[in-house]
Symmetry: C2
Subunit: 194 residues, 2 copies
Amino acid sequence: MTPTKSSRPSVRDRILSTASELFYKEGVNNVGIDRIIAESGVAKMSLYNHFKSKDDLIATWLQQRDERWRIWFKATVERLATEPSDRVLAIFDALQEWFEQPNFRGCAFINSTIELANPEHPGYQVSLHHQQTIFDYIYSLVKSAELSDPEILTQQLILLFEGAIVVAMMQHNIEVAVRAKQAASVLVTAKSKS
Amino acid sequence: MTPTKSSRPSVRDRILSTASELFYKEGVNNVGIDRIIAESGVAKMSLYNHFKSKDDLIATWLQQRDERWRIWFKATVERLATEPSDRVLAIFDALQEWFEQPNFRGCAFINSTIELANPEHPGYQVSLHHQQTIFDYIYSLVKSAELSDPEILTQQLILLFEGAIVVAMMQHNIEVAVRAKQAASVLVTAKSKS
DNA sequence: TACACTACAGACAGACTTGTCTACATAATC
DNA sequence: GATTATGTAGACAAGTCTGTCTGTAGTGTA
């Protein structure tokens, strides 16, 4: 039943994979170490050999998720639109694809920040960095589209962006992505130089 | 040092007051029963005589906070603006006043929903109800201002609203209220019938 | 073959959690 | 004044949590 050692992912990857799924679905505070080792089929000492502590595992998870999410998001936006001005709005189409995933439960970085409630936690800095890189990416799209007041516009788009994520999470309502895109379209048009 | 019994608030109120402060500041999962009884100067059995369980205390807290927050929000909006069209935008000025409070840590209902991660929890329904009443109130303002597509506009304003709350919480950035108001102004203008 | 490394399995400590129970004190009411 | 309500103080049970430790099995390498 269990795959052979060679075909199986490494112990570290199995731990991170299981932790990722559970942490996102149920929250970092609601998932214990024992759950993670049981579901990943790993010895407890193996976990503590690869990660200094649970907090370290959480921070590593967030770091990995930050990288992967950004790669996915960028690729999705660029798949959905090619023109710079279209790509600014396509971020909300990408959002919708995210919302449609059956296991969607909001932004892991917002959620973890709230759960940890501690700015000293290593995961908090990762979360802030995540939001900053999202800003940078959207800002680059806005600049490419040659829209006025790019910084202000980006900040406004981010409010729609984060708002949509939170409302979609709370109400299980995918439609908000469309509403956000409509609103963004009005804001973008107002900043068009044409 | 301790006030006399007669001048002191009731045991139930002291428990709720302490729980409210701690639950909001540190999160429901990070605050234990023992903390609450110690800081409110109450016996453990007194707490369990007034509340069936910790979950019951959480739900009661959210219910009380829902009522009080809505009363505060409505009063603040109506203090800041009188004309219907101004009141639609004044919701973001009220937001800013909220953000400026030193103990601001986002929306208790979003936070609790994330922490509990369980739609069956009695507090979850309270949170959904809270969001619905916010929608209803903003919708009533939009209707009074006689703007087009009131439902769609309200949904869009709520995205800015919730987005501002989350970003303000994450980044400790009060300025987002101004950005949200600017964006809302553009959306409202686009829906003006004049 | 011998050694080192990695992982498994599970006991264990110590701290923390919620909720119950008892014993005692104070306040209000008949 | 006696009784009933309510609150205090703290022990306690039963479970959870993180993190450490021991012993054993398997694998790769010298």
